[in-house]
């Protein structure tokens, strides 16, 4: 269970999140809100990439959850290597034994196996997005955080992403795509001006 307890993270230049309380269990939760509402900030705080100025995040009751929560960036960032290496790198970094099998499985799941030997940074935005999601899925994290995962995907890719996400639990998605949110989420949480709203 992810517990976000009274978390505040404000940027020096303005914006951020204030006093957020949220619990995510075995469910798919969608955080909906317009641009700049604080969706990305909230996900980054949960992922441990931003340290909150106040409040705390607990994952399964622990403050030390590195590796249990994997965050997929809104703008995919590819390592300067092949698609296969992009996916397998983190698995090897974490000394996972069946790294290759997991990478292949994730690529097949995302429909990018045929891209495995291509240079990842030369792919289209949609393909990069799929590599980015495959890279996270291969790690089989306890909790998966997806930031605007449909931003660069075409209709059929969105449909297959819906079924992939529906096939697992403990997913937190930030999106402003209401259709996607309705299709995929068990629960929708709305955020405006850095605060959760009913």
């Amino acid at each position: 269970m992810i517990e976000v307890i009274n978390v505040t993270y404000r940027y020096r230049e303005g914006g951020g999140i204030s006093g957020i309380n949220l619990v995510v269990g075995d469910e798919i939760v969608s955080i909906e809100g317009p641009n700049g509402a604080g969706k990305t900030t909230l996900l980054k705080v949960i992922a441990g990439l931003l340290k909150p100025q106040s409040g705390e995040v607990l994952v399964d009751g622990s403050r030390n959850f590195k590796g249990d929560v994997v965050y997929v960036h809104q703008r995919p960032v590819m390592f300067r290597t092949t698609v296969m290496e992009n996916i397998i790198w983190a698995l090897r970094a974490r000394k996972i034994e069946d790294a290759e099998e997991r990478a292949v499985e994730a690529m097949e799941l995302m429909g990018i196996y045929e891209l495995r030997n291509r240079h990842a940074w030369k792919l289209s935005a949609g393909e990069m997005q799929k590599v980015s999601i495959a890279r996270a899925l291969a790690l089989r994290p306890k909790y998966l955080l997806l930031d605007e995962p449909t931003g660069s995907l075409d209709f059929s890719s969105v449909e297959s992403l819906v079924s992939i996400i529906r096939g697992r639990k403990r997913v937190l998605i930030a999106t402003h795509d209401r259709d996607f949110s309705e299709k995929v989420a068990d629960r929708v949480v709305k955020i405006r001006y850095g605060r959760l709203v009913p």
Binding site: V70, V77, F79, R80, T81, W89, A90, A93
Partner: protein
């Protein structure tokens, strides 16, 4: 000047500037990684100092090291004055700021890789290693910029090397000598060879880096 002498001077230039570039890279890589990845008070000041050191005249560095390495200087006991080692030290000091600034920019342009690596569960050192790998073309370009600066400089080579025939004479000091003797054509020919060496090495290593 015989073709054999020209070849010998060319090789010495490459060896001295190449060694200086390797030493400078060994210092600049961790320094630029540190500057890119750590936020601390005074970081901008360090970057500004390094930036201003890029435009420091080579003769000033030559003078400073001359004072240190000369027989009566604080490091005179090392007996390095007018040796290729002194030239290597001088050129390395000359190009470290330049290399560090270029490397820091190359690393900074790929800094988002660090956040991705950490979000995938990598440790800080693994993320830094990933950043290094992803910035390798930029890092190699920075080393080449440093090498080209070193092989083309005159002040340090002349003041610390002394232009001793068969020992510390390199392309730039040979050009200066020939021009001072009124041998302009030979000076220009040597200059052309220097440009060719720089161009060949730069394009060969850049191609390797792109692969």
């Amino acid at each position: 000047m015989t073709p054999l002498e020209i070849a010998e001077i060319s090789l010495r230039s490459i060896a001295i500037s190449g060694t200086a570039s390797i030493i400078a890279a060994v210092i600049s890589i961790p320094l630029s990684l540190f500057l890119c990845l750590r936020d601390f008070k005074g970081k901008n000041l360090i970057l500004e100092i390094l930036n201003s050191m890029v435009s420091l005249p080579t003769v000033v560095i030559g003078l400073l090291l001359y004072y240190l390495l000369t027989r009566t200087g604080p490091l005179g006991f090392l007996d390095l004055m007018y040796t290729p080692i002194a030239m290597v030290i001088g050129q390395a000091i000359l190009i470290i700021p330049l290399m560090t600034i270029f490397m820091e920019r190359a690393l900074d342009s790929r800094k988002d890789v660090v956040e991705v690596a950490i979000s995938l569960g990598a440790s800080n050192s693994q993320a830094a290693h990933r950043l290094f790998l992803d910035s390798l073309p930029g890092i190699i370009s920075s080393v080449l910029v440093g090498f080209n600066r070193a092989i083309g400089e005159l002040g340090v080579a002349l003041m610390l090397g002394g232009n001793i025939k068969g020992f510390t004479r390199v392309m730039t000091t040979a050009i200066a000598l020939e021009v001072s003797k009124g041998e302009f054509e030979l000076g220009i020919s040597l200059g052309f060879i220097l440009v060719c060496i720089s161009l060949l090495l730069t394009s060969a290593i850049s191609r390797m880096a792109r692969r």
